[in-house]
Symmetry: D3
Amino acid sequence: MSEYQAFRVELVDKVAHVVINRPDKINAMNAAFWTEIIEIFRWVDETDEIRAVVLSGAGRHFSSGIDLSLLAQVGTQLGKDVGRNAQTLRRKILELQASFKAVDQCRKPVLAAIHGYCLGGAIDLVSACDMRYCAEDAQFAIKEIDIGMAADVGTLQRLPRIIGDGMLRELAFTGRTVGAAEAREIGLVNQVFSDFDVLLAGVMDIARVIAAKSPVAVRGTKEMIRYMRDHRVDDGLEYVATWNAAMLQSADLRVAMAAHMSKQNPEFAD
Amino acid sequence: MSEYQAFRVELVDKVAHVVINRPDKINAMNAAFWTEIIEIFRWVDETDEIRAVVLSGAGRHFSSGIDLSLLAQVGTQLGKDVGRNAQTLRRKILELQASFKAVDQCRKPVLAAIHGYCLGGAIDLVSACDMRYCAEDAQFAIKEIDIGMAADVGTLQRLPRIIGDGMLRELAFTGRTVGAAEAREIGLVNQVFSDFDVLLAGVMDIARVIAAKSPVAVRGTKEMIRYMRDHRVDDGLEYVATWNAAMLQSADLRVAMAAHMSKQNPEFAD
Amino acid sequence: MSEYQAFRVELVDKVAHVVINRPDKINAMNAAFWTEIIEIFRWVDETDEIRAVVLSGAGRHFSSGIDLSLLAQVGTQLGKDVGRNAQTLRRKILELQASFKAVDQCRKPVLAAIHGYCLGGAIDLVSACDMRYCAEDAQFAIKEIDIGMAADVGTLQRLPRIIGDGMLRELAFTGRTVGAAEAREIGLVNQVFSDFDVLLAGVMDIARVIAAKSPVAVRGTKEMIRYMRDHRVDDGLEYVATWNAAMLQSADLRVAMAAHMSKQNPEFAD
Amino acid sequence: MSEYQAFRVELVDKVAHVVINRPDKINAMNAAFWTEIIEIFRWVDETDEIRAVVLSGAGRHFSSGIDLSLLAQVGTQLGKDVGRNAQTLRRKILELQASFKAVDQCRKPVLAAIHGYCLGGAIDLVSACDMRYCAEDAQFAIKEIDIGMAADVGTLQRLPRIIGDGMLRELAFTGRTVGAAEAREIGLVNQVFSDFDVLLAGVMDIARVIAAKSPVAVRGTKEMIRYMRDHRVDDGLEYVATWNAAMLQSADLRVAMAAHMSKQNPEFAD
Amino acid sequence: MSEYQAFRVELVDKVAHVVINRPDKINAMNAAFWTEIIEIFRWVDETDEIRAVVLSGAGRHFSSGIDLSLLAQVGTQLGKDVGRNAQTLRRKILELQASFKAVDQCRKPVLAAIHGYCLGGAIDLVSACDMRYCAEDAQFAIKEIDIGMAADVGTLQRLPRIIGDGMLRELAFTGRTVGAAEAREIGLVNQVFSDFDVLLAGVMDIARVIAAKSPVAVRGTKEMIRYMRDHRVDDGLEYVATWNAAMLQSADLRVAMAAHMSKQNPEFAD
Amino acid sequence: MSEYQAFRVELVDKVAHVVINRPDKINAMNAAFWTEIIEIFRWVDETDEIRAVVLSGAGRHFSSGIDLSLLAQVGTQLGKDVGRNAQTLRRKILELQASFKAVDQCRKPVLAAIHGYCLGGAIDLVSACDMRYCAEDAQFAIKEIDIGMAADVGTLQRLPRIIGDGMLRELAFTGRTVGAAEAREIGLVNQVFSDFDVLLAGVMDIARVIAAKSPVAVRGTKEMIRYMRDHRVDDGLEYVATWNAAMLQSADLRVAMAAHMSKQNPEFAD
């Protein structure tokens, strides 16, 4: 594990704990954040030992979103020609999106543990995770509307598959703050924990449960759910048949069956 | 603002209030309704001053749906040849659909404020709005099943993205009535207000909040959410990057940032 | 009605009641189950008299999912060549999927009445039904993860359209058990009944309500909702216009209208 | 038939002949052109007597494309804010596209008869027609590249379905001129005629052949081909089954069959 | 191999030769034809020994298309209610389509050898084959337009992927006859042979070449091309990666490589 | 420009000439090839001065495809578990595909100049280019079928959009060799040149023509054509309207117009 400027990373019991680590800046997403998150999730993806990921924020908040000084800096790269500026901006946005695509496309499940502020870009980030859990003090807001722009790194693209359409529009148009209870009610988070410590312990428990399952089965399951977000039911059925044509020849089924018969916990190879 | 037979329209604080105005007919949707709604939403779309729309019904109900005499009249236009009748009916249905497409594709957010009956075609209509709010006396029912037909002006097409699949099927197959509390629970409305006056005041407040945001940001946000209803996540990311390539060059970001820094309310050009 | 090994089938009041009938095996899905279900739903589809279907389990549980001996038997059909084994497995999976496609594509609404265990393959099955209702003792779990595989006969393909994405992932990755109350909260079932008898009576009532509607309208409605699961809103609008171009020429509209005017119950031809 | 500034329109033998009529301007597409073409094709669509359309240019050329003064005028409508300019331009482009969509979506077959110049916007136009035929003196060029822009009213969207991908890219990147023989070879036109008079006579003959067929069959055929440009084979099969469910009940089949048996020419109602 | 009424079937050198065998009826497609073709292609699909299929017609023609008496018979099944008739017709069309889907989805390549008439339904049939070859006397025509209907068993759905859009529309709207040379020029057939005997010998040669390749490779190749007809390039790349993840573990690669090194002909297991 | 092991790269007149440079190995694609091509095309993409790319092979052939020793080496990375091997292989294939995606997604047009052998992986490569040109001695063959596998780095995915479906299937199933004349006839190449020197001069000329056009217009044109390969016509129209909303505000239009008026060659900024 390398050293990171914007993150702290641990690997315990086959679970990688990725902590956004700029607590004095409310974990605002600076330049280092956007590049390091790609490296971290590439490492997660390629390290067979890692079977699940927990993502949280250091200090009193999850994250206040993109660092405004980063936005300002993009502005300074623009010239006089609107067309060429547009090409520069388009590439920059695609580049930022790539950082959260690394989370979305990670082959291991990613669980967000959210407390305090989860604003703007932080919503884009947790929308790219598999599941979201929060503490009672969590506050969610789609803040992009208040800096005069449509959210462009994932919130408007991924959240419609997670929460209801009508409420999504209200939150995106008004930027109003949502608390923990409402977040659970609208499906934004799966469960609310009393405070940060209980939250982190609870989410780590769920991650460990997942880490004990067959990694072949977990990856297949994640790939299928990811696929269904954008494909038809008949295509999904054909895809899983093609996928399992190979995977059902894995030893993991025998290991799982044997454990099931003998009422013991199975041990799966990484 | 023109005079309308089936509507009453006001423009207050950059919010257009569109009222279905045939209270003695429970706001049944007659021929004038279907053509005037297109004109009204074209005006909304083209009038820069308008930034949000509230849609409600005059009298004791939102609307009882399509005027049955209009349906009967369509029948009189049919001849003997089943094939040519089918072509006539198909065009007529597409024509009616166009009226609610005008609502759906309006570039400004449309908020439905619903009280009393919201039946049949009225469900098709509110499904085409951005958000739905209701009074405690609201009653929703997909009534088309009871006149022997599959709903064909939007309910079966847009509602599956708004409420859960299982409940949608029950309501569509049985035509049973849903009250305000259940409507909220299943995501059909965002919030329930005690009575019509409170409802209208509450919805106008939300509309005014939206009207105070950057219109460039609001339109981009609406376009992105509309797009995601029918497109893949990766296409959506590419689309917003292309869109924002131009929009991030707008002055609204600077205005919003400056207001944010100085803790003042921003003023955006129409 | 033929005799079946894995099912018992009745036809009452235009409602077919299909019962999984291996109570001593917790209604595990054996070879007979997978072929007979296709025959049964072909019969349902082709018998005009049948207008709705109720699906339930005999004994104390709905079903414990696929019979593990069936899985084991598939293993014995494999040879040495991984590529040819993959082709064999792929065809076998597609064959099993076809059994639940018969449920999904049935032109009459299918209502699942669930009590006790509803595990693994049983979730795949009820995901292919139109609506789901359960008794208070119902227990749901996506058990495939615990036998080392990604679910491949429909759960991961159809459930994302029924329950929220975040909760689906938790259930699919962990295999944890969900009770009746939570099932209702996340939209997996529409309603919870106190026990099996009340459940069955309640679901039969809903089925009878549907059976009394115009069959032309019910089939059109089901086809449109099925279509929207995988298509765009604009395609759906065009499709229903084409569909209704023929169906609005049916006598059922006149029958329904006349009954509506005379406040009597309409009688529709099969 | 109304009078038009940019067109001349005739109706002979159930074939509408639409002539771009600004020969002294090489039939450049001015403001009148873009609005009148919508009116003309709405009339074509709604007039049952019309069964096919021939589109040609008056004078020595088909058309030199968009009138550059129109482009210049759009420029004058722009203000200082890049974001608001972008919204203005986007709407303007969509508006121009709507003019050629009227051709594309016309329910009757449209045959382009091309001689002399067919440049820039004229390629966009003929790409929206069903078939293209030309005289030996025809010259085609995707001229947009030479005014510094990507073609945005249909060439890049519809031509890839008509000519091969590799050649399309060469023509779009270089703007080079293609003569009649090459146009035929790459599938841009169906047939080359010696000169304009022979061309027009030949295309009118083909149009009359089409006009003598069952209009129900011709419209169905056009709708199916249009649909397949953008849909899957399985969706297309389902769509034509739904469409023909009504159309096969038309009298036209009996008329056609009877004529077939008696070796006579059938007469179909409009 | 069973006995068939409408076909004659042989298996030579791992190539199945399927002959439409009603020469005195110009191989018109009667009721037996539509059901037997499904049985035959199921047998082809399930018989490992068969690696390619050649489809031809007995007597002087390939086929004149659907037997008109079959069409007439469908008419007699219709009743008075337009809606119920539409449902009957829709199911009947889907049933006929299923016969040619059996050809399209067959896992082994299907080569059509066409001489004499290839009219109406026969075009639908050869559009569902992998490749088409013809004798110089071949005559092709999309005859459905002349019996007053849009072709509904595959021509309008599959042919647009095979021949150019512009020419397809001309042929579909006019029903005109295309000879062998033009058929080759527009891509309808791959090659023209002098007469039927030369044609059959030539096509059998190509089929034998295919039958000598690795069946794992041939099936994968066919599946990928079929998939690309309806899917995006990025989806296709992901699908082939998933497919080959299993298939590259087959022994066929080693067999093929070894043969390549030793300059000998490889022998692949069925 | 860096030094490469498998390539030689030059930049002349704003055209990058990329040469596969392993002539003694018939330009077989070894490990260095697959990684360096990504670096080269990233450099092409990011270097504003480059406006077009020509891709050719050093020595007597374009390329014989993937280096078989590379394939053999992948085999050595596999272990005993079929499921884990499948995951390894799937990732490896995706990795190889990424190399040609870098060509496909390059924002500048890429012109392939092909002489001698163009076999197996080389067809995958040229399918990812914008246009293909060849010398008379060129020989094309989809060789993957002869090493017992379905082509998986692009041929089966991209070629169906370039050449006709029927001929593609013949070439993919049989692996037969196609010469220059047939390659042109089926649309695989745009033009045939007498020998390698004339070919290279001719292709460089076309590249220079493109390099002299507005780079804003060329990139927009390429993006639109790439988009249409996988999207609907209506989506394409909306996308180009959004794209040009920014790009039409570029100075390039004024530069192009002014040059057009003054009959001079325009000079565009990079």
